[in-house]
């Protein structure tokens, strides 16, 4: 079914590596609206790939975790990146942290916000996935081609 020519078959193409330096984990609490919320601010980092090199700005983003009643942890990420050639990008991600039989770590879908008409516009026209294995501070990012 998925192998015909009716529509494209997506592929994951290695794009960037994102390393983050995490601040202390803030326990917000067991929420009246459900779930346990934790927040980890970003103290800096680096995104590096053939088509994008830049620093993650400290103090302007981070990760927020919501451990739901069903045991699944929802992770939302937002970061500001300053590229080595001076452009500012915003990166957002959403996904899950799981302790599955097959995978222990965090997987997110990612989208970029970039300046109109700039050299990084292709980032906003493309969807990405990120994976961070448990115990590491590095996301491996793939373009959804």
């Amino acid at each position: 079914m998925a192998q015909d020519n009716l529509m494209p078959v997506p592929a994951l193409v290695p794009a960037f590596v994102l390393s983050l330096e995490a601040a202390e984990r803030i326990h917000v609490g067991t929420l009246s609206t459900g779930g346990i919320r934790e927040h980890v601010a970003c103290r800096g980092g680096r995104i590096q790939g053939e088509r994008l090199k830049g620093n993650v700005l400290a103090g302007h983003g981070g990760e927020t975790w919501l451990r739901r009643a069903d045991g699944v942890t929802v992770v939302d990420l937002h970061l500001i990146i300053r590229t080595d050639d001076g452009h500012t990008l915003r990166l957002t991600g959403t996904g899950y942290s799981t302790e599955d039989l097959h995978f222990v770590g965090t997987r997110l879908s990612l989208l970029f916000e970039v300046d109109q008409g700039g050299p990084y516009e292709w980032l906003a026209r493309t969807a990405f996935l990120a994976e961070r294995k448990s115990g590491t501070e590095v996301f491996v990012i793939a373009e959804i081609a």
């Binding site: 079914m1 998925a2 009716l6 529509m7 494209p8 078959v9 997506p10 592929a11 994951l12 069903d70 699944v72 959403t94 996904g95 899950y96 799981t98 599955d100 097959h102 995978f103 997987r107 997110l108 879908s109 989208l111 906003a124 026209r125 493309t126 969807a127 996935l129 994976e131 491996v140 793939a142 959804i144």
Partner: protein
């Protein structure tokens, strides 16, 4: 990360509603008339009237789109499906898509990352799995194929 084929949806879509939210920007609303889905251990119908596709189209460029509707499995369970995606096409291709013409889906980029809310039990793996989707816009409906990230 690898992709493993999970399911295909065939949607029948109703009237295309355009909301001109700003100069050169239109929020589309295309409501679900019905449809079917098939995958490994997962099949059923798309619930008529339960939602739709809501693309934000910029005339000079591509689109971000949102979708939300309900699936009903053949054993009677409801699953909420929500999705955010990116569509990008060259200006000539986009004009043909907006005019409702049939366009070769290899001629544009349409990818999405659907998320599901399924009841606990046999379908709850959907609640903690990331998916990648590809869309094919047709004149009376759309076909989506979803791969799970493994």
């Amino acid at each position: 990360m690898k992709l493993e084929f999970a399911l295909e949806l065939r949607m029948r879509l109703g009237e295309r509603i355009h909301i001109p939210v700003a100069e050169g920007q239109v929020r589309g609303a295309v409501l679900v008339e019905g449809g079917t889905f098939h995958g490994k251990g997962l099949q059923g119908i798309v619930v008529r009237g339960s939602g739709g596709d809501f693309p934000l189209v910029r005339h000079d460029d591509g689109a971000r789109f949102e979708s939300q509707y309900l699936l009903k499995t053949d054993d009677g369970q409801y699953i909420l499906k929500r999705s955010t995606g990116v569509r990008h096409a060259a200006p000539g291709v986009l004009a043909r898509l907006l005019a409702g013409e049939e366009v070769d889906p290899h001629a544009y980029y349409m990818r999405m990352t659907p998320r599901f809310e399924a009841p606990s039990g046999k379908y709850d793996w959907l609640n903690r799995t990331l998916f990648v989707g590809v869309g094919r816009r047709g004149t009376h409906g759309s076909i989506f194929r979803f791969w799970k990230v493994v």
